[in-house]
Each structure stands twice: as structure tokens, then as C-alpha cells.
């Protein structure tokens, strides 16, 4: 082994990346070469010196700030369109085709099949939308009559086509997508039902925000929220909605029930312990403050006061505990 190779191996050996056999060769070389032995000492020295610039754990504030900023940016991103998902899938497929040429042919066949099927379904939808044309042409497909006259009708799927024997009649089963609109008082059970549905299922954060805001206002203004399931809907939103603003509104709506209902209290304690948004955790502390009799509240406040990553939340929890000595 010459000294040049030895110098390279000294570095890899210093970081534990040298194979045993090469390490043995290196040791033999170093035993007889003072210059390379000195080189190894210098390498060891560099390692010690480099540690004078240590790797520090990021502060909790920095982590919380970064997380908050990221969540806001993610919330602001428009949802992916179907063609973006499709593009991505195709992109993945194309990439893997380099390794699997047979799959390429298969994909082409599937693509062609999907195109034909898509065209066929499109033609069916077109036919369903223009019933008078079908009738004029004597087509056996009867025109789907909307439930409400004048309402637009979309056919989302044709599930079966059965022709009756010895006859020109045919039975077609299909599904419709019919947009509807309803207007009424917030006390109307149907309206409330729709708002609850929107609070849980809408893909739009704006729609969820509006729905939860209205439901929360109902609860805060003293209307009955327990019987109709609004309280439950708000608890689900507080626990699972991905938008912090929507969760904050749900929390506000639950405030009137925190003293009476242990399930509501548990949902708020969950938010205090686990919600990713420090503003919601802080608001939860304020809401729980008046609840003095529940030991779980004390425990959670103590735990948050000692362990929460956010120093502000730790301080607020301690303040609440010190302000209310009877709950300690």
C-alpha cells in the first residue's frame, strides 16, 4: 500500500467505513510509516475540532413556527384536480415501463379499452340529456324524467341494461346526480342536517367553515344542540377537521357545554393535548379554566404546563393553575 492510498483509507477508517481486511492492511502500513501515522493523528484531531461546532436540536418555538407556516401553506394549496392525479399515475407508470416493456403494451391496451368505454359512457350520457332526439330516432332508451320539472339531470352511471324477451322494451337502471337547493330557518331540522353533513364531508374548507360557524353560533346563542346531534358533529370536527380555523369554530360552539357534559370536556382535553395548532390549544385552556371539579382537567393542565412544546402554552397553563389554586 502506498501513502496516497493510506491517506484515503485513514479518512474512511476514521468514520468506520473501512472493510476489515483493508483496515488490517492500513494498520500494518501505519506501523512502518511515521508520516502516515501523523496523518491519522491529524485526522483524529480534525474530528475532535469539528465537534466544536455541534449539531443542536431545533428549539420548540422554531419547530412550532415552521409547522404552523407549513400548515397554512398546505391549506392554501388548491386541491389536486383529477387530471393531475391521472398525470401523476401515468408518469409513474411510464417510469416503471422502462423496466417492464410488456407492461407498456398492456397499458396501451388498457388505455385504448378505457377510451372506448369512456366514449361509450359519454355517448350514453349525451343520449340521456337529449331525450327528444332519442325519441325522434325511435331509440328504446326512455328519457329519464327529473323528479322536479325543470331541474337539471346528470346521469352518473348506467348500472344495468335488461331487454325484455319478445318485446321492444328494455329496462335501464341508472343513477342521477341532481343538484338541489334548500332555504330555511337555522332551526329547521333539514337545514341543520345539511349543515352537519357539510361540516363533516365537504371538500371545501370554506363550506365546512361556514357550516361549523353557523352550528357553533346556534349552540352559543342557547339553541338546543344536543338533541339534533350538533354537539356530536362539533366534537367530531374539533377532533378531525384538517383546517385549524374550522376546528377553532367548533371549539367555540362547544364552550357552553364544557361544564355539563363530560364528553365535550374530553373532546376539548383531546384538543388541548393533541391539536397541532397552538392557538387552538391556547383557546382550549381558556375554555377549560372554569371547570374546577374534574380531575382529568387538572391532570391535563399540569401535563401541558410541564411538557407542551410551546412555551406560551406552558405559561398560560401555569397561569390558569396558579389563578385557580383550588383546581391544583
Amino acid at each position: 500500500m502506498n501513502c496516497e492510498v493510506a491517506h484515503e483509507r485513514i479518512v474512511t477508517a476514521a468514520y468506520g467505513e473501512l472493510a476489515d481486511e483493508q483496515a488490517h492492511e492500513l494498520e500494518r502500513h501505519l506501523g512502518g510509516c511515521a508520516a502516515c501515522a501523523g496523518e491519522r493523528e491529524q485526522m483524529r484531531a480534525l474530528k475532535v475540532l469539528a465537534d466544536a461546532y455541534p449539531v443542536l436540536e431545533p428549539e420548540a418555538n422554531l419547530v412550532a413556527r415552521s409547522r404552523l407556516r407549513l400548515e397554512e401553506a398546505l391549506d392554501a394549496l388548491p386541491p389536486k384536480r383529477w387530471y393531475e392525479w391521472l398525470g401523476q399515475r401515468i408518469g409513474n407508470g411510464v417510469a416503471s415501463l422502462w423496466a417492464a416493456p410488456m407492461m407498456a403494451s398492456l397499458l396501451l391496451l388498457v388505455g385504448a379499452g378505457a377510451g372506448i368505454l369512456g366514449g361509450y359512457e359519454y355517448a350514453l350520457v349525451r343520449a340521456a340529456r337529449t331525450p327528444q332526439t332519442n325519441q325522434a330516432a325511435g331509440a328504446p332508451l326512455s328519457s329519464p324524467v327529473p323528479d322536479t320539472p325543470g331541474a337539471p339531470v346528470e346521469i352518473s352511471n348506467v348500472s344495468s341494461v335488461v331487454s325484455q324477451p319478445n318485446s321492444h322494451r328494455v329496462e335501464v337502471r341508472y343513477s342521477q346526480v341532481v343538484p338541489r337547493q334548500i332555504e330555511g330557518s337555522l332551526d329547521d331540522p333539514a337545514i341543520r342536517q345539511l349543515l352537519m353533513l357539510a361540516s363533516a364531508n365537504s371538500a371545501s374548507a370554506g363550506v365546512r367553515d361556514n357550516s361549523v360557524g353557523l352550528l357553533a353560533d346556534e349552540c352559543r346563542s342557547g339553541h338546543s344542540c344536543r338533541a339534533g346531534g350538533i354537539q356530536n358533529a362539533l366534537m367530531v370536527t374539533l377532533r378531525y377537521d384538517r383546517d385549524a380555523g374550522v376546528r377553532a369554530k367548533a371549539l367555540e360552539g362547544l364552550e357552553p357545554y364544557v361544564g355539563q357534559d363530560v364528553e365535550v370536556r374530553n373532546a376539548i382535553l383531546d384538543a388541548l393535548m393533541n391539536d397541532s395548532d397552538p392557538r387552538i390549544r391556547t383557546a382550549a385552556i381558556g375554555i377549560l379554566e372554569p371547570v374546577q371539579g374534574d380531575t382529568s382537567v387538572r391532570q391535563v393542565l399540569h401535563s401541558v404546563a410541564n411538557t407542551d412544546v410551546n412555551p406560551h402554552i406552558r405559561t398560560v397553563s401555569r397561569q390558569v393553575l396558579s389563578r385557580e389554586p383550588e383546581i391544583q
Binding site: H7, T12, Y53, L56, P58, L62, N92
Partner: protein, 210 residues
């Protein structure tokens, strides 16, 4: 030194089994689950910030890199095909962003060739490098903070790629093979880059005179 060494002595099957919950999370995130993506972010955010913070030396830059890295991950998660670990994938994004940031900074940076100690006197770390006495505990010879700054300056004189390889090897404790994967290069190239980095570092630290 931080140690986040990967691999260890686990078999491939064991590693796959360990990764199963994470793979499920990735699949859910690919299918559009924001909650699954948030969980992935929480699993890696400390490591991402620690790396970016140490490489850039600036909280502000580290925060920007964190933001950009996870937004990129979110946008391109659909392209992740489980050919490497998610750890390698996310580190690849972060290291690329850090490299860009270091390259930008390198063009702006003033080249400081002389360093002063507390009293304003130029000092020599070469003595420390060649002198066992001081190297046995450099913190006793110089104020640790000041020394840290000098090391940071010496690191800043490496090319961004050398700096990155040294960072990932020395400070993050990754295997050269993993570093090669992250930087889209071979283990051999990563090893050569590490060798050049250590050589330059020693020269940079030895070039400071008292």
C-alpha cells in the same frame, strides 16, 4: 456529534417490516390524506430542521428550507415509488434545497481569510491541529463559541457538495452509501468528496495565524 446512522445490522426483511406502518402512511398520503401527510411531517421535521439549521447556521433559512421541502414532498409524493426509503427521499429534497441555498450564499459571501480572537489578535489553529496538547481538548484552548464560529467559517470554504458530504457523514452520521443515494451519486464519489473535504478543512484550519 449527532448520530442518526441508518441501516445497522438489520436484515432487509426486518427493515421492510419496520417500514410497513410508514409505507401505509405514505400510501394514504398519496391517496390524498392530509392527516397521513401531517404524521409523516411530524416524523421527519426535527431531522429536517436540525440538518438545515446546522448547514445554514440560520433559523430563518432553516425555516424556509423546512417549508419548501415539505411543500415539495406534498406536491410530488405521488411520484414516490418506494424504490428507496422515505427517509432517503425526503433527505434528497432537503439536501438539494440546502445545496441551492449554499450556492446562492457562496456567491454573496465575503471571503474572510484572517480570523481574530477576543482581543483582536489573529490566531492560529494550525498549532492546535499539529499539537496534541491543545487538541486533546480544544475547548480549553479557545472559547468554545469562538472556536465553533471558526469551524463554521472553515466549513463555509468547502464547495457546497463537499460541505454537504462532510455534514451528512460527520455530523449526521450517515453511511457513505446512503449519502451517495441522497446526492444521486455513487458511494465511491461520496468517499472521494469526503476525502477532499477533510483535506481542505485541515488546510483551512491550519491557515489561520496568530
Amino acid at each position: 456529534m449527532a448520530t442518526t446512522a441508518m441501516g445497522g445490522t438489520k436484515t432487509a426483511a426486518e427493515r421492510m417490516r419496520d417500514r410497513a406502518p410508514e409505507m401505509e402512511l405514505i400510501r394514504q398520503a398519496q391517496a390524498g390524506s392530509r392527516a397521513a401527510f401531517d404524521t409523516l411531517v411530524r416524523q421527519y421535521e426535527q431531522q429536517v430542521l436540525r440538518l438545515a439549521l446546522h448547514l445554514t447556521g440560520s433559523e430563518h433559512d432553516a425555516e424556509d428550507i423546512y417549508q419548501e421541502a415539505f411543500l415539495k414532498a406534498y406536491r410530488y409524493l405521488g411520484n414516490f415509488r418506494f424504490e428507496c426509503s422515505f427517509y432517503t427521499w425526503i433527505y434528497r429534497i432537503v439536501t438539494n434545497l440546502c445545496l441551492d441555498q449554499m450556492r446562492r450564499r457562496k456567491t454573496r459571501r465575503e471571503d474572510r481569510s484572517v480570523f481574530l480572537d477576543h482581543s483582536g489578535v489573529e490566531f492560529d489553529l494550525l498549532a492546535a491541529v499539529s499539537d496534541d496538547r491543545s487538541f486533546s481538548n480544544p475547548a480549553k484552548e479557545l472559547d468554545r463559541k469562538l472556536l465553533g464560529d471558526r469551524i463554521q467559517d472553515a466549513l463555509g470554504k468547502l464547495t457546497p457538495r463537499e460541505r454537504m458530504v462532510f455534514e451528512l457523514k460527520h455530523y449526521q452520521g450517515l453511511r457513505l452509501r446512503t449519502i451517495g443515494e441522497m446526492l444521486n451519486t455513487t458511494e465511491e464519489t461520496a468517499k472521494n468528496t469526503l476525502f477532499r473535504a477533510t483535506k481542505k478543512l485541515r488546510a483551512n484550519l491550519a491557515g489561520l495565524r496568530r
